[in-house]
């Protein structure tokens, strides 16, 4: 594919290093460039359908348009993002694979962003329909618990401590937090709730046609955007990881040089 223009080129070429395709001076690649353009195109289509082409709803009016981002972002974070974090955490604990640790972390961070979107759009949708931005309903409460748990996961990843112990703690939290998602999933079935049930029962779609198109565009747009973000976040995480390793090497080399044999004797204090 000839993709000379890319979303990444917005920030301009990097200063001194050779900007050939193999220099990796940015986190972009051919795959993410294509993915980036597909995301932008589907976002444009979503905005066109969701905000302009699709009609208002018969009772809730224009506010139905929040549905096209609320439900897709919920699906992306709860079903995709945190599942990747769960799988990555399990594999990390079994194999100590740095790759899966970083994948789990990248997916969780982007997932938290999308969960934030779910909460924000849900609140904005709740006011004109339910009559309140927030209520401590089972589904809303379990979603809020998840949000805090994954914020905790991200906080653990930022702790200033031994990287291996930190990754292990994060992985354990990544697994525990996933269990809570099952409560969200079934909260509308287990408890009486203000929140509506599953609208998109495949056997009985209760959405009007152009609304359904808007919804699927939302799902496609947010999934593609999620994929793009996770790949880039992973590459940034990999750079962070490499830089940590490099700095540790430098620090050890410096200390070895300056401390000498007396330093060795005082070690482990």
């Amino acid at each position: 594919m000839t993709t000379e223009m890319s979303p990444e080129s917005v920030s301009g070429p990097s200063s001194t290093d050779q900007s050939g395709p193999e220099s990796f001076s940015t986190t972009a690649s051919k795959v993410t460039t294509v993915l980036g353009w597909l995301s932008l195109a589907s976002i444009a289509a979503l905005l066109a359908f969701g905000l302009l082409i699709s009609p208002p709803e018969i009772s809730q009016g224009e506010s139905v348009r929040l549905f096209y981002i609320h439900v897709p972002s919920a699906i992306v974070c709860l079903y995709i993002a945190f599942s990747i974090t769960f799988v990555g955490s399990v594999i990390y604990l079994r194999k100590q694979s740095v790759f899966w640790d970083l994948v789990a972390g990248a997916s969780a961070e982007v997932g938290v962003v999308f969960l934030g979107f779910t909460l924000a759009t849900g609140m904005l949708w709740g006011k004109p329909t339910w009559g309140t931005y927030w209520t401590w309903d089972p589904r809303l409460t379990s979603t809020a618990v998840s949000f805090v748990l994954y914020l905790g996961y991200l906080a653990v990843r930022r702790l200033d401590m031994d990287p291996v112990a930190r990754s292990k703690r994060a992985a354990i939290l990544g697994i525990i937090s996933f269990a809570n998602l099952i409560i969200i999933r079934y909260s509308v079935a287990w408890w009486r709730s203000l929140h509506q049930g599953t609208t998109l029962d495949p056997r009985d779609t209760q959405l009007d046609d152009s609304m359904l198109v808007s919804f699927f565009l939302g799902l496609v747009a947010l999934s593609l955007t999620f994929a793009w973000l996770v790949i880039h976040r992973f590459r940034v995480a990999w750079l962070e990881h490499q830089l940590e390793a490099q700095q540790l090497e430098v620090a050890i080399a410096e200390r070895t040089a300056s401390a000498g044999p007396t330093g060795l004797a005082a070690g482990g204090a």
């Binding site: 009007d208 940590e244 620090a251």
Partner: protein, 179 residues
């Protein structure tokens, strides 16, 4: 964060890295600042989690009853606050003191509601399923909050659907063909 961690990891006391002396060259204030930062991070998350869980547990005590159950259990409920679910069956009216009065029903059992508090959403009207929060005052339910339940179907405003619009207008420009 990236440029900070080698300092403290050099300072670790578990000995795993300490073939060589790795006590920090930097003043130890960096390390204590990092410890403080760790505590603030985890403390912040725990406070948030505590708040959410507290809300979850206290609001779980606000029972969610259908009208028929709430009426049947009126004696046991007393003046406890709870949530009652039903469908609005009479046209809501405003009484002389600014309260909204209406009836809701569930399983053919009706209850009189007097609502004093925040205005319900624009969707609140005859025929809508609602959840009211409040308590019994005799035969009357004193509501402090009216929440309108989402309907689970979404119908275009400008399209005719069987059984929906009162005035069927067969629009040729429906959105069916798009996409």
């Amino acid at each position: 964060m990236v440029d900070n961690w080698p300092h403290s990891s050099l300072q670790r006391s578990d000995g795993s890295l300490t073939e060589i002396d790795l006590t920090p060259v930097e003043p130890s204030s960096t390390a204590s600042r990092n410890k403080l930062r760790n505590r603030l991070l985890m403390g912040g998350v725990l406070v948030l989690l505590g708040f959410v869980l507290f809300q979850a547990l206290t609001s779980a005590r606000v029972f969610f009853r259908n009208v028929d159950e709430a009426v049947a259990e009126r004696a046991e409920i007393g003046d406890q606050t709870f949530r009652m679910q039903g469908v609005v069956v009479t046209e809501p009216a405003e009484n002389s003191r600014g309260a909204i009065t209406f009836q809701i029903a569930f399983n053919d059992v009706e209850a009189n509601i007097v609502h004093i508090g925040e205005e319900p959403s624009d969707l609140f009207e005859l025929g809508m399923p609602v959840v009211v929060e409040g308590h019994w005052e005799g035969d009357v339910f004193a509501s402090t909050q009216i929440l309108v339940k989402h309907s689970e179907s979404y119908v275009a405003d400008n399209e005719d659907r069987p059984g929906v619009g009162e005035n069927p207008t067969y629009e040729s420009e429906s959105n069916d063909g798009v996409g």
